[in-house]
Subunit: 69 residues, 6 copies
């Protein structure tokens, strides 16, 4: 599958917390930055996500803001 | 200003394209990944964005998906 | 690639309009409903999108609202 | 009320799960596709959502991505 | 139509700019705050939006971030 | 920090509910409108949010829809 989302950031799952319906997944990128995703518990199960696994953060460009100091 | 968005990725502006109302800004992260943001032309002007500048991509965790191969 | 997004709706591209930086793509689903996506021109080119093509609309569940009459 | 969101997909509620603050609502469209929405428990209560009910999924076109095989 | 979106802010259209495919609409709220929406030109036409008109900004709560000084 | 998001609405926290992973924060704007944000519990803690506090709702313009009666 190829997707229109402009941002596909490869990394490794470093933390995974399931809530009642929503889970938080943390991915560490090669440069050391950590990306947090808030996804459904169901998606965590279906993708078989686990700490230590390789995965990508996928982000539509219209969901990215820019900040400057 | 401190913001609730869980993802603040520092990088450098490597490309900037303005359309009629919407601009695309590309940021290179330290690890080499490139993040594309689709923001208003107005925001580009107000932040004084330019290629070469240090900036951050700010992304709410509920806008991040996870993909696996 | 498997993605955490809960909504992957298969259909056929029935219209495609490119703007200065942003394109609108319309997909007709089997039941007749039409889904409109606003994506970058760049994504349209990279995916080689064209009218008549099979494609899927991918939507994160946190971006779906519910309305009742 | 008329809304700017380009996507209003009519269907029937086929599942409804409430979490601590966030609920997942599943809507089956006429063509058989199922759409999952992640909304607040409060919205579920205010709209009086229940399995079997007619409802619509409302999605802003900037939240729709396109994927191809 | 009743919608699950938790934020429906009533105001008056004070500016309207159409781009190639995307328009920016500015709404002034009773307290003086101005809200900017980036919507499709098509939606502007279909809703018959014009400066001076009463309208509402509709925002899903998962798209709202919080910032503190 | 200056951010590209076009909407920064100043107000006061009037309610705060934490779920398992996701919290709902309500902000009252000067004109009396109330804005609800769905953010991570972690962000609530990190920002030290509490009822009575001054805070701002930050919303990207591409996440704002317009509705008319």
């Amino acid at each position: 599958m190829k997707i229109s989302a402009r941002n596909i950031l490869h990394g490794q799952v470093v933390a995974l917390t399931k809530g009642a319906t929503t889970a938080h997944v943390r991915l560490e990128l090669p440069g050391g930055a950590v990306v947090t995703a808030s996804i459904t518990n169901e998606a965590v199960d279906e993708l078989g996500l686990a700490v230590g696994q390789e995965a990508s953060a996928v982000i539509k460009s219209s969901d990215v803001m820019i900040a400057v100091e």
